[in-house]
């Protein structure tokens, strides 16, 4: 349907700005965080470690609940989604592959798929589009990538600067640190307390937007 192509509220610039300022204020305490959830998942996978799982659960379950409430608009379905998603995390921990993406991304995609299938079941057709059709099982975001490298010189040019200013704040922040302040991806990751993979992703997304702004072939 056409109306579903409207922007959802959480993409808007203001809320992104807010996220970033929140991120800036929690820098110091979250320095050690990268890797923690991946390690916990590995412990669950190896010996069904209940303590490690409880840590994951206490962090992610309330956040999935908030995501669920935003998407479903009610608590009951949100909690159903949380239970299904977190059960999958417990049962399928050994499918998690840290070399292919971070733990939070894996858990997010599980919750997204659970939610999608919950919605479809309401319409109860056995022969129907399912989350497995839409999202490739092994579709983990990659950690590394370097398609961004020959862009720094161009970025400074006047042609790009208005488009640069129009980037979503989260992407502009990362781009500014990498390209204008010449920080390494790792430094930006540490500074903003976001995973390295996310820094790289935001750079690629921003570059894609800039390319698109220059050469408007996207429909």
């Amino acid at each position: 349907m056409l109306e579903t192509t409207e922007l959802k509220g959480h993409h808007d610039a203001l809320s992104k700005q807010k996220r970033i300022s929140q991120r800036m204020t929690i820098n110091s305490e979250s320095e050690t965080r990268t890797g923690q959830w991946e390690d916990a998942l590995t412990l669950v996978a190896l010996n069904q470690d209940k303590a490690a799982y409880a840590e994951l659960f206490r962090y992610f379950a309330p956040r999935l609940r908030a995501f669920g409430i935003k998407m479903f608009g009610n608590e009951q379905q949100a909690m159903e989604m949380v239970q299904d998603a977190m059960l999958n995390v417990w049962r399928k921990a050994r499918l998690f592959d840290a070399s292919r993406g971070c733990a939070s991304t894996w858990i997010f995609t599980i919750a997204r798929n659970v939610r999608f299938d919950m919605l479809r079941k309401k319409q109860s057709r056995k022969d129907d589009i399912s989350a497995d059709d839409l999202w490739f099982d092994g579709d983990y975001p990659e950690q590394e990538g370097n398609s961004s490298d020959n862009w720094d010189t161009m970025l400074m040019s006047e042609k790009l600067s208005p488009h640069f200013d129009a980037l979503p704040p989260a992407q502009r922040m990362v781009m500014q640190k990498v390209y204008l302040e010449e920080k390494s991806h790792q430094e930006v990751s540490d500074e903003l307390a976001i995973p390295l993979g996310t820094v790289k992703s935001r750079i690629r997304l921003a570059l894609d937007r800039l390319r698109g702004a220059l050469d408007d072939t996207r429909s």
Binding site: R19, Y53, F57, V82, L87, G101, F136, K200, S201, S219
Partner: protein, 229 residues
């Protein structure tokens, strides 16, 4: 795949696809495009990373009902985990399926494989054949085969039309579309797609409303809209 994909879904569509908020039929077309387009594979991975990070970073207020969480935690950790051996989905190529129409066999993307296997009824009309894929939504998803040198009569879309080229090539007033290209036509867009003289074409078609044929005798096709819809 020698053809470089030229027509992509917009960033907004990709974001909603990743989030899971697109209607299933539209999401299916986007997903099949992604299977065919390395560029959008990378983009959708990046968007997934970004959205997961947003989810992880959100502030949540502590809830009073610690007990409810503890009950859920106990329930989950008492469930058996998955057996060690699980079927590996190692690469997309392993999951493609074939469809045969007009004596030709085409490989179709992973996203469509399961649904396409469940259908086997092609309806033929002139050089055009369609096979409906089973979906529960109001929108209509079908495979559309157009024989070489065939023109689909000039029509207007009463709703949104998405066409993804799965094999061969299609041409209309606005350009030429090859494998992986995704055309999105809004209501009121009018076009006359056709195939070239030496190449047939297989497409995925998602329609939110019937087509309306505009010219001369082809208006007689209007009662046959169900054929395309």
């Amino acid at each position: 795949m020698t053809h470089a994909v030229k027509f992509h879904p917009g960033l907004m569509l990709l974001e909603q696809y990743v989030e899971g908020s697109l209607s299933a039929d539209v999401a299916l077309a986007v997903s099949a495009h992604i299977d065919l387009c390395p560029h959008c594979q990378q983009l959708s991975r990046d968007i997934t990373n970004d959205q997961a990070c947003v989810l992880t970073e959100q502030q949540v207020t502590a809830r009073d009902d610690v007990q409810e969480w503890n009950q859920m935690l106990d329930f989950i950790t008492n469930q058996p985990v998955l057996a060690a051996k699980v079927p590996a989905h190692d690469n997309i190529a392993a999951q493609v399926a074939n469809v045969t129409v007009n004596g030709r066999t085409f490989q179709i993307p992973r996203a469509l494989a399961r649904l396409a296997e469940n259908q086997n009824k092609w309806l033929h009309l002139g050089g055009i054949a369609t096979a409906k894929l089973p979906t529960a939504d109001k929108q209509h998803v079908s495979l559309l085969y157009i024989d070489k040198g065939t023109e689909v009569p000039n029509h207007t879309h009463l709703g949104l039309e998405m066409t993804l080229v799965l094999a061969g090539k299609i041409v209309d007033e606005n350009g030429e579309y090859g494998v992986g290209d995704l055309l999105i036509n809004s209501p009121d867009d009018t076009h006359t797609p056709r195939t070239l003289a030496d190449e047939d074409c297989l497409c995925l078609s998602v329609l939110s409303a019937p087509l309306k044929f505009n010219k001369g005798l082809t208006r007689l096709l209007n009662p046959l809209q169900q054929f395309f819809y």
